[in-house]
Symmetry: C2
Subunit: 441 residues, 2 copies
């Protein structure tokens, strides 16, 4: 078999952990497999490098007056594209360091390995620095290293632009690197080794008896990733789905089976709800007294889109006296910017950061009626008011007051029978998957 | 003018220092010059990365029994060439980080800049990992960036092998990178910006009234670098001499003129002695009672050469009763290995770590007689015994007891009139050049 393994930053966070990963790699090849490993930067390293870049950018930004910082990936005023190019040259070094160290650890453990940086492993991208898209992968170097009997350790998260510059794929890009490389080399499986045991029926930090899911289809994982499950980057699941690469999300700490994410199978539809997710990072915006004429609402959302603000749930009230109200949710971190932008347009705006989104995901929803009504009944029984609703064929999301979020999650998890048979387990303390922010970069 | 500037790790050691370098770069282009900058890793970074690699290597080395460590650049037992390849992939990231940060700082200061890693700047080498030789430089990318009006910030110390792997040029390789790039782009000057004011008549930490030298020729600088002056890497001076690239060694802290190192000029021969250097890193080996037959001594030095031990000064005593004694010096760090190696051959060996080497360098020696006798007289007056002597056309070195090294340096510095007119200077406290180990990587 040709096996791909992706190790996250926490799994590579210390030299001892790197040694442990090296032993695990040797175990894979000892079983007669070929192995390509994709690594993230050691935990903390990417943030350390970004902090250096931000510190350099700050004094100049102050001279220009206050600048609005959305996050570390937002370019400061000066430099622009040139600054983002340097940011990618800078942060890509983090993965190169961990790749070299893992290759050395494999040597020390008696194996053959070679590390490859983005420009060596043939990962070609466009030149959208800090959030590049993969255009194609030239696999000859990886193939020849595998043929020479080596474990190939690839620096994740990075590629090269047509002009030969270093690019990065954005936060969590190492998952995408791993899946894209696995697809282009037609790997048998792409293992995502992380600090959780797999994908769970919900966040075990909120619902202690959450259960690890054995199998999910790509479509379910896509929906889960989009509603707050952070165990896999959304984009990596999209790539896996498009090319049919089976993903195995499993622990880097032990050899236990995790969650297989595979093309849809017939038996899967029998499960109505696979998982319940909570996304606390939502804020609500209500624009009141909008003129109820065609184009008004479109103009509103065009203005938000131009500012790069992603709108999630939307409801529009019935008009009254030629006016209407529109409510929608945005990432909580964009709430202030959305408010300022709309106020500047002359809109009357009310914002509410105190909401969250609870979602049910399951392939069986396609063929089972009554999931929504059952969901609403469970929430009503707990006295939880529903603010907004959105649905897809295999997902229902509701916005509720943030203080009821955990209660809603527990009630829905048990109300849809996700707890299943209680397993005597004691070794997964502290692990989490859905709704958590584990080992990613 | 096309100006090259090389900044060492201390000059780039903090973000504030990087900002200062950026402002200096802008000053160079504001005067109408084109500028290429070559950077070392931020001080401490290379050592941090090597420590990570060594820590990974150690446990395995212990399992194999004690291993002799000559220094951080010696490969551990396991891995060999593959390990050295990874070491280069690893440590090269240090220069990439400082190059990106300097480019960002230039953006923030309002300038145009682009950083280039080894594989982008066209520095091609052989595949002797950790001590690669430059084979050729493909300058098209640098030229096009200069043509676009950008300051080009090159990661020093690194290149790429014919197979596309990352190589490094060895300790101090950034000087060599800078001079080689300057040569291939026919730069008007290559400035080595460092934490000293220039090349001094001797180590100012030992002789407080040492004087900064205004001009030296390549040949003198080569001799000085070979006898303990660490202000410039020997190899970089060799490259500068071969291609006639003028080097300007100057402070990164202020704009004062430093030391120009240039092709030989007529007036230079009038200076008999330009500088005096002290090298404490010498140890003496004496092999007694060697059979006085042809080939014996050759066999001795062949054995040392095979072990990679560089022999410096050699004296052979007149034979007595068919036997002879041979004494020679080696770097003090190789003394134990030399002793063990010769003892294993059955040689009778006596070693003495307590010696040092004092050298006079000056172009005028070629045409001035009596320099050696004057040197010996000065040392005799101080009661210092001379153990060994070596000479070249523009250099005389003597080995003396280490405890007399500083006294010898002072006596020779003043005895040959190097102090010159006393200048009222107060801003070079703590600076040093000859015999010191400044800002290099």
């Amino acid at each position: 078999m040709l096996v791909f393994q992706k190790y996250g930053g926490t799994s590579l966070g210390t030299l001892d952990r790197i040694r442990r990963c090296a032993r695990r790699c040797l175990g894979v090849v000892a079983s007669g497999n070929e192995l390509v490993v994709v690594v993230s930067a050691m935990s903390g390293e990417t943030n350390r490098l970004i902090a250096l870049a931000n510190a350099l950018a700050e004094p100049a930004a102050e001279l220009d007056g206050a600048s609005s910082h959305k996050g570390p990936w937002v370019a400061p005023r000066k430099g622009g594209q040139a600054h983002n190019r340097e940011l990618d040259q800078l942060v890509s070094t983090g993965e190169n360091v961990s790749a070299s160290l893992l290759a050395m650890a494999i040597h020390q453990a008696g194996g053959q390995a070679v590390s490859l940086a983005g420009h060596q492993l043939g990962m070609r991208t466009d030149d959208a620095f800090t959030h590049a898209r993969i255009t194609d992968i030239e696999t000859s170097r990886i193939r020849s290293e595998l043929a020479a009997g080596r474990i190939v350790v690839c620096a994740g998260f990075q590629g090269t632009s047509p002009g030969g510059d270093i690019t990065t794929l954005g936060r969590g890009g190492s998952d995408t690197s791993a899946v894209a490389l696995a697809a282009s080399l037609r790997a048998d499986v792409c293992e995502i080794l992380t600090d959780v045991d797999g994908v769970f029926t919900t966040d075990p930090r909120v619902v202690s008896h959450a259960r690890k899911i054995d199998r999910l289809c790509f479509e379910e994982m896509l929906e889960l990733a989009s509603v707050g499950a952070k165990v896999l980057q959304l984009r990596s699941v999209e790539v896996a789905a498009r090319f049919g690469v089976p993903i195995h999300v499993r622990s880097s700490e032990h050899q236990g089976q995790g969650t297989m994410i595979v093309p849809e199978e017939e038996s899967m539809e029998s499960v109505v709800v696979s998982a319940v997710a909570l996304d606390r990072n939502e804020g609500k915006v209500t624009v009141v007294d909008l003129p109820d004429v065609p184009g008004t609402v479109a103009g509103l959302f065009e203005a938000l889109a131009e500012a790069g603000i992603v709108v999630d749930m939307i409801i529009q009230n019935a008009g009254h006296a030629g006016h209407t109200d529109v409510s929608f949710t945005v990432p909580e971190s964009d709430l202030a910017e959305a408010e300022a932008l709309l106020a500047a347009r002359g809109d009357k705006v009310v914002t509410d950061p105190g909401i969250c989104k609870v979602s049910l995901v399951g392939l069986g929803m396609r063929s089972h009626a009554g999931v929504a009504s059952r969901m609403f009944r469970i929430l009503a029984t707990e006295g939880i008011n529903i603010d907004m609703v959105t649905t897809s064929t295999i997902k229902i999301s509701v916005a509720v007051a943030e203080r009821y979020g955990e209660l809603a999650l527990r009630a829905l998890h048990d109300g849809f029978g996700l707890a299943g048979p209680v397993e005597p387990s004691g070794d997964s303390a502290g692990d989490s998957a859905v709704g958590s922010a584990p080992d990613q970069a």
